[in-house]
Symmetry: C2
Subunit: 329 residues, 2 copies
């Protein structure tokens, strides 16, 4: 029997507080060697878009085995009036191998990405953080703010946002103010986001640095979840150089895919050994910031363990609450 | 909208004649460079079984993009009264990336494996072949015979079978006689299968050679679809040495995974350049047998292109015939 969960079912079952907990656990199990994230498979030609096939397994109490299939077709909106990113998550019973759940994966992708930033905020940002800034009000932005909000135990008071499209920023403002009850301030310039802020989130589609490291203030925590190719980055070398802690969702994945770290490594400014997986900070193996003036950086490229964890969370809750539809294949 | 197809739906929609045609086309497109079969991902620990995640894409007229997730859990029958091998195939729309079909994959796996042997028989066996022998009457055996039967344009008259379990052979006999209307002869010994036969199919779980190459008669075609690890094989070095044509479903996959070819290569008896992908024979780039006395060998390890092709066939037909259930995710 396969439990089928639509986008609406997933939305009903998933909240950020739980997503944070499960993503944190996934990072922890990875560091403990109790999870496996194989290199994802990318398929393009002869298709007009990209498909990523991302399986993963997490042991321990979670016992989760799943695969996300996510496609990125840039011409979908224009040509087919469909989203660019489409995804589904297939959950297997870790004890039998049987596929027991299939669910829409778009919300899971956004939530686990927001949760990654949230976990980084929980462990790396200053405890008295109250203001965040976010670059881009795009598709990932709302769940990033939600991740920060719950990562700070609902102590976030204000979010500053800048987007090249004013209308996108306006919609973002009204939605976030309604959902989280915090103040949203639309900045007139990109650089304004660097002023009077505690947490900076970069969630753009840019492939070149979006701000100058010279202007980054003391004490901030930065999370970059955009750029995920070796020659693309959101953060410049100066930002990386100024940071006291360079953290990755998963070090191996960032060293393979994230220009934000790869480029400064190739420039000889930092070395691979300067980068740590966040699991090491969660488990206490490596200490977090020791002062309020340090700058901390978290870079995350999506890894399957995040989807596996959040997918399992949704599946387990669906069974418990009797939501979704069973199909006998 | 996702078309869901159960095992019964797939059985209703799939026949060997079509499977042969689609698998042949997949092999052809691979050789033409118009298809992509990434290395499959294997996941084991900390699960008590193996999961293989196998995406693939085939261009041309077929335009198929799909992923098979197949699990092999040896303790399933005993512990859970479930099959060892479970599989599902996810079909994507190659133009949008959207998952538009999800189907049970067990019959697809058996059919595409039978079809691989069938394609090899069509191109490599003697045209006057009438008798086949099959090692093992196990789960793959029936579809292997079906593949040979239709690969020979229904000119197969007799199938000799040997299985260590007499009862398994008896069931196989009655089912094949009923389904294909050919004679099935249960051999008393393994070596008897090498006598008075035109086509030899090895479909065992053995990891060591199942017959001596010294006893292989002139003119036969051999298809080996068992053993698929570098240190495992069904065919011995003598058999490989005696063959005039060493053919692979996909050369790269066999050189990476099939001990039947890897071991003789490592022994220095053959070299990689002696092995050809069957697509080269289908397209006529390389000639097939030129005499009735040559021995030909076909080795196939499962590759995703076979599943992608047969999955697409089933999906397209389901839409056309209105079979299955649509779910709006």
């Amino acid at each position: 029997m396969v439990r089928i969960l639509t986008k609406a079912n997933v939305a009903e079952l998933l909240n950020m507080v739980d997503a944070l907990e499960y993503v944190e656990e996934a990072y922890k199990q990875l560091t403990l060697g109790n999870a496996f994230v194989p290199q994802r498979i990318a398929i393009t030609d002869p298709a007009p878009g990209l498909t990523l096939v991302m399986p993963g397994i997490i042991g321990g109490e979670m016992s989760a085995l799943a695969t996300k299939i996510v496609s990125v077709y840039k011409k979908n909106p224009e040509k087919y009036n469909m989203p660019t990113v489409l995804a589904k998550v297939m959950i297997q019973d870790i004890n039998t191998g049987d596929i027991v759940g299939i669910m829409d994966g778009s919300l899971i992708t956004a939530m686990r990405t927001g949760a990654a930033t949230g976990v980084s905020v929980k462990y790396l940002a200053r405890k008295d953080s109250k203001v965040m800034s976010i670059y881009s009000a795009g598709v990932q932005a709302k769940k990033q703010v939600s991740g920060v909000y719950y990562g700070l135990n609902q102590k976030l008071e204000k979010c500053k946002v800048f987007d090249l499209k004013k209308e996108t920023a306006e919609i973002f403002k009204s939605e976030i103010e309604k959902e989280l009850g915090i103040e949203v301030e639309i900045s007139e310039s990109s650089d304004d986001l660097l002023l009077n802020t505690d947490i900076i989130v970069a969630a753009t589609t840019s492939t070149t640095p979006i701000f100058s490291g010279d202007k980054v203030p003391e004490g901030v925590h930065i999370s970059s979840i955009g750029a995920h190719a070796p020659d693309a980055r959101e953060l410049d070398t100066t930002t990386i150089k100024k940071a006291s802690l360079l953290v990755a969702g998963l070090k191996e994945a960032c060293i393979a895919e994230a220009g934000d770290y790869i480029i400064p490594i190739n420039e000889g400014v930092i070395s691979e050994s300067d980068i740590v997986s966040i699991g090491n900070i969660i488990t206490g193996k490596i200490s977090s910031r020791s002062s309020d003036t340090e700058i901390t950086v978290f870079k995350s490229v999506g890894i399957s363990a995040q989807d596996v964890a959040v997918g399992k969370l949704v599946y387990d809750r669906a069974l418990k609450e009797g939501i979704g539809q069973d199909i006998d294949f």
